[in-house]
Structure formats: C-alpha cells, structure tokens
C-alpha cells in the first residue's frame, strides 16, 4: 500500500438551486480499501458520489485520482479515470437485455454484433471470477433487483473500473444476496480495487469497511477507522443524538382473528400465476411478518388485499367475506372495511409526487365526510389542518404541509404515508417495506409507530425483505416463495440462515461446504425454467 490516496476530494460544494447538498467536503480514500459512507436521508451522500462519477458537476472543489488532479465533467471522464458506480436507483434500460446494458456506451466499433460477442465472453469470465451469474440474454425487467444489481456491477467491471462506488447496494437484497455481494467486494478489494460503500446499515459498515465517513446535512462530520468505533457511536454521529438500535416491544397479546385468507390466487396480465393458493390468518394485536425475496408474490398479496388487483379465493375481514373481483374490489371498499395500506412503492403508489403534503394526506380518503365542505366541494382547509397535525405528530421534516411530496426525502415521504394510514385507526394495517431506503433515525420512529398500533390491538401484516426488520418486529413470521407460503416460524425459534433458505424455496438444509448463494441461485434458475416452460406452452 502506498500513501497516495486512490481518491481525494477537496472542498467539494454543490447546491441544487437553494438546496446546499454538499458543503465544502473533503475526503481521502486509500487504494485497496473499502470505505463506508453513512448519513441520514438527504445528507448528501449520493450527491457527493455522483459528483465523483461526473453525473453532477460540483460548484467548486477539486478531485484527485491516484494523486493526480482530474477534471470529471461527465461520466465519460469518470469511466476513463477508472471509476465505476452502482447507483441507488439503477441506471438500466428496462427493456434491453443484460448484454445490451453492459455494452451500452462501451461498444467496440459501430456494429453491435462483435461487441455483443466480445461482451458475452468477458461476462462469462467475470461471472466465473466473481460469482456474478446472470443470464446475458435476459431482459432487465424480468430480473430480480438482486440480479439487476449484478448487472450494474458487471457494467462497472466490464469497463475495467479500479474504483467502485456502490450507493446503498443492499437496500433491496436478501441476506444471502447481501452476503454474496460482500464476498464479491472482498474479492475485488483483494485485487487492489478501491471501493466506496454507502449504506444505512451499521451492521454492514462494521462487517466490511476499513474506514467510515459520516455525513450530516451536507457536511462531512467525521472519518474514523471502523475498527476503532462502534455502531452506537456511528448512529450518534449520524443523527446527532442517541438512537435505539433495537426495537423495544413487549410480547404480543393476540386477540380474535381479524384477517383470514384462504386459497388466494392471482394471475397477472401476462398470464403468470403470482399467488398460488395463499392461506394465512392475522389476529388482533399481532404483527405477522412476511419474509421473501422480492418478486415472489408478496407485492401481489398486498395489492390484492389492498384492492388494487383482483383474485380468487376467500378473504374474511372480521368474519365477513370481502369482494375480490367485482364492483367492490377496489381501494375505496377496502378502506371502508377498515383496511389501511402502506404500499411498498411509496413514490408510485402511496403518494402523488406533485401533490402537496396536505393533498397527499387525503389521498385514498378523499371521500371522507370530514374532508368535504358540501356535496360538491372538498374542504381543503380541514385537510390542511389535519395534515399539519399529522406532520407534527410524525415529525415530518421540513414541517411544511404546502411542500410537494417529491420535495421530501424518502424517509419523510414514508412518514407522511404512515401518518395517513396509521391515524385512520384501522382494524388491519397492510404495510410493505416500511423502511426501505430510510435512515436509522427514521427507522426507529417508524418501528415504534407500528408496534404502538399493534399494542392498540390492531392486526398488522408486514411485508419486508429486511430480515432484521422482520425478525425484530414480527410476532410470527411467514416466508413466501414463488407465490406460496413455505412455512411459518416464531422469531424466537428461527434464525437468518433458516429464513434465508426458506426464502429461496429450500426446505431442508444443504451440504455444509456448498455456498448458500449457489443453492439459492440453483433454486432461482429452476424457478425461471419452470416459468419459461409455462410461457412456452401458453
């Protein structure tokens, strides 16, 4: 190891109009290390990295790569300087194949054929070297997020990146996938590559990084050696106060059964059966957690229960059957039945991004009589008043009900949705990925709210890909795979490994020396084959 840092940023500042996202930031990353960056939502982590990658242009500041001052006006320059980046929101062309995405911008010559052939070879090689298996001819939109992320990493490696930036890579991964990613990163590090890792998860920081920098409100507040710090200290540095890292909850006192689902089946518009006979039960005063790799039907389960999709089977709410296909199988009817729904995708389902916060507070409840002035007009003042109360109680920042939803950070957007759904005092709360992309300060708050609702005797169905979250919040855990429930466990009687295997459809423990990820991959491949066959027949 030399003393010249692989990356050195000096005095980087960047503002988006009136928002100062980065303020005079300096940072040094040594070659061959993994450097973590943590910080609350909106602290400016993504912005800083995007500047390094030439996606944004800094207002001021200097960039040194391997000791040499380098101008990075665009991503082309970054790539030329050996930098690769996996963005928080993947930058993939959804209806292109993996191969096409990989060569995009790095083609050899004007014709595609030779480029594709070459890339196919390189990809095969990379796949072997780093265990980065993906079908090169698969469409991106058909891939799981985990595989999409592999494509992003392959893109960077294909361009022979020496410095790899990963922005919240594990937010969407299963534990097995996350473990696998970390092994890849360690492999890359051994080869002397430099890695910057942005994450909200302190466990990951502690596990894999060599040094860690903390950002707050656009400033770099500290850089420490990982070995010399603790999660508690980091959390405090990040949020500016002490944070409870574990969910504080008493044992559940389940009451009568509120939600009963029997043999629920749903087929999507492409003709693929997404729910294959789901049966489950949630009692008052308990949280049923549904674990699973995304894309195994959990989303559809929530959407069917929330009235967004039709299905067959039986669903009973407080003992009464509800309509799953007809006139009353919509979100309005579900709400009328006392079902609240925090959707998985807050940006595309839970909120209307150009709507103000107060308008969003009425979203889905726009029929509520207390929001109406008369038969024709809505009572905007009443909604606004309601919204201001919710913003205060849920500590939404900034506390401005007139701000458009898109101008709030992800965590605060989530708080708006939660406030709206929880304060309805529903009998049943459907909640999907409540803390996806949310910083630890907000996670703590959101978890507290969900537990509090449970303690009021409400039934909660929680879907999450975060096993940590599932294990710490749920009173019972069900695992979904391929549209079916693979099994149910009590959190106290299971562990991440067992759940991880169930999530991959593996019901018995594999050989000791076979890496888990291979088992998972085999299972996924088998699943895909089955699907392809079905498609072929139809």
């Amino acid at each position: 190891m030399t003393d010249t840092p692989a990356i050195e940023l000096k005095g980087i500042s960047k503002s988006f109009g009136p928002v100062q996202a980065n303020k005079d930031i300096s940072i040094r990353v040594m070659p061959g290390t993994i450097h973590g960056i943590i910080g609350e939502n909106g602290a400016g982590k993504s912005t800083l990295m995007s500047i390094l990658y030439g996606f944004y242009k800094a207002d001021s500041g200097e960039i040194f790569i391997n000791g040499r001052q380098t101008q990075i006006p665009d991503s082309q320059a970054a790539i030329a300087a050996g930098i690769g980046m996996v963005f928080q929101h993947f930058k993939l062309v959804q209806n292109f194949t993996v191969l096409e995405n990989v060569i995009l911008g790095a083609e050899d010559g004007g014709l595609l054929k030779p480029s594709l052939a070459k890339a196919r070879g390189v990809l095969q090689h990379l796949a072997k070297e780093y265990e980065l298996n993906v079908d090169p001819d698969a469409m991106i939109e058909d891939l799981s997020v985990g595989h999409q992320q592999r494509v992003e990493i392959l893109k960077a490696l294909y361009r022979e990146a020496e410095i790899l930036i990963l922005d919240e890579p594990t937010g969407v991964l299963t534990p097995a996938e996350a473990d696998h990613l970390f092994r890849i990163l360690e492999g890359l590090k051994r080869e002397g590559k430099t890695i910057i890792l942005i994450t909200h998860k302190l466990r990951e920081i502690m596990e894999i990084t060599d040094t860690v920098s903390v950002m707050r409100r656009g400033e770099m507040t500290a850089t420490v050696k990982t070995a010399e710090t603790s999660p508690e200290e980091l959390a405090e540095l990040m949020v500016g106060r002490k944070v409870l890292l574990r969910v504080d909850k008493t044992p559940a006192k389940p009451g009568k059964s509120v939600l009963e689902v029997e043999n629920l089946r749903h087929t999507d518009s492409a003709g693929v059966e997404r729910l294959k006979g789901i049966s489950l039960k949630v009692q008052a005063g308990e949280i049923l957690g549904i674990a699973g790799v995304s894309g195994n039907g959990q989303s559809e389960l929530l959407q069917v229960l929330g009235g967004m999709k039709t299905a067959t089977g039986t669903v009973r709410v407080n003992g009464e059957e509800i309509d799953l296909t007809g006139r009353y199988s919509d979100g309005q009817s579900r709400r009328a039945r006392g079902i609240s729904h925090v959707p998985e995708d807050r940006q595309h389902e839970g909120l209307i991004m150009p709507y103000t916060a107060w308008e969003n507070v009425a979203f889905g409840y726009h029929h509520d009589p207390k929001y109406q002035k008369n038969a024709i007009l809505m009572d905007n003042a009443a909604i606004k008043r309601d919204a201001e109360g919710k913003i205060e109680r849920f500590d939404v920042r900034p506390p401005n009900a007139n701000l458009a939803a898109r101008n709030f950070s992800g965590g605060n957007q989530q708080k708006i949705v939660l406030a709206r759904e929880i304060e309805r005092n529903p009998d049943i709360l459907l909640v999907g990925q409540p803390t996806r992309g949310v910083d630890i300060g907000a996670i703590e708050f959101i978890h507290q709210q969900i537990v509090a609702l449970r303690d009021q005797g409400k039934a909660i169905l929680l879907v999450s890909v975060e096993l940590d979250e599932i294990l710490s919040l749920s009173d019972r855990v069900a695992v979904m795979f391929d549209g079916q429930i693979m099994g149910e466990r009590l959190p106290s009687e299971t562990n991440q490994t067992e759940l991880g295997l169930l999530m991959a459809g593996v019901t018995q423990m594999p050989d000791k020396d076979k890496p888990l990820i291979h088992v998972v991959d085999e299972q996924l491949d088998a699943q895909k084959e089955r699907e392809a066959k079905r498609h072929g027949h139809s």
């Binding site: 109009g17 944004y56 665009d74 082309q76």
Partner: protein, 321 residues
C-alpha cells in the same frame, strides 16, 4: 377485384403511402430517442415549399431536395433547441412549428413568386422523374407477375424506392448498430445513457436531425415528385396521419411500413370507390371519405391494443431539479 383493378389501387397505395412512410420513420427516430414530435406536418410542409422553390430556381431537383432537407432541418434544430437544450414542452414546440411552417411557406412563396402561395410548375430536370426498373417493358406480358413488376413496382420516383429501402435500413440501424442501441436507450432511460458516458444531448440532437432529414425528403417528394409544384397547405394533414401511423405501429419500423401501407390503401380504395350503389340506396360519398378513418379506429380497437411509447418519451432529461 381482379388484377387489373387491383394494380392501380395498389400503385396509388404506394404513392400515397410514401410521404406517410417517410414522415413516420422520421417520427420513429425522434420518438425512439425520447423526443415527441407533432411537428412532422410543419417540417414536411416547409420542405415541400423550399424543395419546389429551389428546384424551380436552380432547375435541378436534387438541389431542391437538399434545400427542402435544409429547411426541415432548421425546424428540427428549433425543436431540438426548445425540447433538448431548454427542456421545453415538446408538444408545444411541435404545435408552434406547424403554425410557423404554415404561415412562412405562403408568406415567402408569395413574396418570391407572387402566385398566391403556389410555386411555378417544375419541368424537366427540376422535377423528380420516375424510375423504370430493368426489363420492366419486356416483362409486362408475363401473366400476373408481369403487371405486378412492370406496373406496380416499376415507374415510381427514386424517393419512393428510397422510402421503402429505409424501412429495413431503419430496422438495421436501430437494432444492429451502436448508434441504434444508444438511440433506443436514450428514449427509454436517458440516465442510463448518461451514466454510461454517452451524451444524451448529442444523441437526441442526432435523432432530431435524422427526423428533419426524413421529413425533408417526404416534403420534397410531395412537391417535386407527386406534384411538380408547391401549393399552400399541400401536405393536408399527412403529418398527423403519419403520427397516428407511428403510434399504430408501436414505434417499430416494419410495423410502420404496414401501418402506412394500410392508411395508403384505405385512402386509395376510398378514392376509387365513391358513391357505391347498393341498389336500394347509394352509399354517400361522405361515408367512403370517412371510411379510412373509421376502419383505423376499428382496427386499432380490435387488434392493436395498447401502444406503449418509449418510456422517457416527451419528458425532457432533467438531472438537477
């Protein structure tokens, strides 16, 4: 319908389809790159005028063609400036350019030729001549294939063959070349192109320029090939029909060919069979006139289904809010 009636109808189909096809492919390049363009009509119109005007003045149709392309490219540049550089509303820009072309062509034409917006009639070298395919004359007597080859396929202006050749060419460029890959990507996910180190602005301008060139050819074909003069508003709404064909074809080159041929065919049929006498009553001419449009709706509703435009279409690429 026997061959003797069918062939003229099909010939007419080819002629009527050609400007649609060129404009449709033009729109395809632009919209595949994420720039919506309802200004096809205006570009065709201005190209029609300048090609005829310059062909008349120079006596050379090819110089006229270049002038038409240049005029259309100018409008493309404005559209690019508005929708790419200044991230303006692409629909408004298109609407404005249609108005601009409609006004400017007559204004300039009147200023230059004083014939009320019409250009003088082109003759000889100023006019696009027809191409006769080899052996067209000697093969005419071969049954069935002879007339098809000699009457239907032979004897069109070179731009017609160009237009049809552009279909596979477009397909090839879009799906077999680096440029095509990037072009399609920029219409689907400009941020992916940007982070891959390719200029979104450059690609989109290139696409808009190709759109301009093809619209230029379409307009020039109308005013130097189909007709040897420019008359005011002579594109008569074909740009909008081309737009419809583009959506109809779901932004795919071969489908575009099919859609344009369909529109051309329906029109050719409607023009040929007016006032059909059904004995008891005569089908009014208005019904036949509206028939292509009615059938389009029926086909669209019955068979085509949902057309999903390029994902980033119509939206300016904004990195920083």
């Amino acid at each position: 319908m026997d061959l003797a009636t069918l062939i003229p109808v099909l010939e007419s189909t080819i002629r009527l389809s050609t400007p649609l096809l060129l404009a449709c492919l033009a729109g395809l390049f632009s919209e595949r790159a994420g720039i919506f363009d309802i200004g096809l009509e205006g570009k065709m119109l201005i190209a029609a005028f300048f090609s005829a005007a310059v062909a008349y003045s120079s006596g050379n149709v090819w110089i006229g063609l270049l002038a038409g392309i240049a005029a259309s490219l100018t409008l493309s540049a404005i559209h690019g400036l508005a929708s790419i550089t200044f991230r303006g509303n692409q629909l408004i820009s298109g609407v404005a350019l249609n108005f601009l072309a409609s006004g400017l062509t007559v204004l300039i034409s009147q200023n230059w030729f004083r014939q009320g917006g019409k250009t003088p009639t082109l003759t000889d070298g100023a006019r696009l001549s027809e191409w006769h395919l080899p052996f067209a004359d000697s093969l005419r007597d071969v049954p069935v294939l002879g007339p098809i080859y000699s009457d239907l396929l032979s004897g069109h202006a070179p731009l017609v063959y160009l237009a049809f050749a552009l279909v596979p060419a477009t397909w090839w460029v879009l799906f077999r070349t680096r440029f095509g890959l990037r072009l399609r990507a920029v219409g689907e996910a400009p941020e992916a192109v940007d982070t891959a180190g390719v200029s979104v602005v450059g690609l989109r301008f290139a696409a808009v320029a190709i759109c301009g060139i093809l619209c230029g050819i379409a307009g020039a074909y109308m005013a130097t090939g189909l007709q040897p003069f420019f008359g005011k508003e002579m594109t008569a709404g074909r740009g909008y029909i081309a737009l419809a064909a583009l959506i109809f074809s779901k932004w795919r080159p071969w489908y575009a060919l099919g859609a344009c041929l369909l529109f051309g065919f329906l029109q050719a049929v409607a023009l040929r069979f007016q006032n059909i006498d059904l004995g008891a009553f005569t089908v009014p001419v208005q019904v036949m006139d509206a028939l292509p449009y009615i059938l389009t709706v029926v086909i669209l509703a019955g068979f085509v289904g949902k057309a999903i435009p390029p994902r980033a279409g119509g939206e300016p690429y904004v990195k920083e809010r």
